[in-house]
Assembly symmetry: C2
Homo-oligomer: 202 residues x 2
């Protein structure tokens, strides 16, 4: 049998695959996303996917890309509501955490368990990725806070990575340890941000 009869609802099969994959991935995560399930969902054979994506990793990277852009946008737009350098930073940190909690599967693949899964084949690992973009916004906030005399002077990279550790920590704990008896979520997020920022204040 040859290719499926084309219908008027046919867009690119490539986009159709991405849409199906995203649906499964968002609902059930990486482990439950299988090529055969995607294929069944779109009504093609599993191998048809390989005509449009090199492997599962590349398919999933595509699925995540839009979420990454959304993360960057969310941070950037939250930052624009900040009144001063410190407020700009805080707004960005909250946006990062809330994005992660709201998109747990995307956050998991992108930041929690990217080791052998995604972005490893990429030689330009972090170049141009969402992590890179978000991190650059954070670094510039650190620079601004130091220049404004809000933060003590220090190595911008080290300070930025320290902050990243904190917000990544709370985000991944909230995502992965659902059963742990955390205190009220927003209060805890507040505490993490305020404590970290407070520890850097002049």
């Amino acid at each position: 049998m040859g290719p499926r009869a084309k219908t008027d609802t046919d867009k690119d099969l490539r986009q159709e695959i991405i849409d199906a994959a995203r649906e499964i991935f968002v609902a059930e995560g990486y482990d439950h996303l299988s090529m055969r399930r995607v294929a069944e969902k779109i009504g093609y054979s599993p191998t048809a996917i390989y005509l449009h994506f090199r492997d599962k990793t590349e398919l999933l990277r595509e699925v995540c890309e839009e979420a990454f852009i959304k993360l960057g946008d969310a941070i950037a737009s939250a930052r624009r509501t900040g009144k001063d350098p410190l407020d700009v930073m805080k707004k960005g940190l909250f946006a990062y955490i809330h994005f992660g909690v709201a998109n747990p599967h995307h956050y998991e693949v992108a930041f929690i368990s990217p080791k052998d899964k995604i972005f490893r084949s990429d030689e330009s690992s972090y170049e141009g990725s969402a992590g890179q973009r978000a991190f650059e916004m954070l670094s510039s906030s650190v620079t601004d806070c130091i220049a404004a005399g809000i933060f003590r002077p220090g190595d911008v990279a080290k300070i930025s990575q320290t902050i990243w550790a904190s917000i990544h920590g709370i985000t991944s704990l909230l995502i992965m340890h659902e059963k742990f008896p955390f205190v009220e979520r927003e209060a805890l997020i507040d505490s993490v941000v305020e404590t970290t920022v407070g520890g850097l204040t002049a």
Copy 2:
């Protein structure tokens, strides 16, 4: 064919399985640990393992248990070298982070990706686990630091979880994002601990 000829080197097969599994797991992590590889390593058929462990999860839990005890011991013994409540806490935090970095696969399974993998079947999720034990030491340090007037008064659980978020954050970042251009490791760990503790100081 019946059971393998018993040799003088035969201990419990159960222990033999655990030893083989640990070797593979420590070297290559959860994903590369397969029942068939364990079986091959010990010279039995794959199904022999199921006579001693209910499933892969239970086998791996056994493998991790000893590491958990070592984590608790490392933290407890580091804390004993502390000179005051704050120093006791800091020594424990450093011990936690260093244990994670030194035992990445154990840390990953126990704290980073425990969702559907390990400890989920357990109804008593965190009861008596290593996380529980370590967290209790942290909580008691927080109580002590508040009592000594070192920390501002506040919700002990919230403060403890805030600290945990920070040290879990740096530990998991260092483990999972090997390629990220972090600043010098010990300096960064120091910065995380000092910043977090500093943000809580009265």
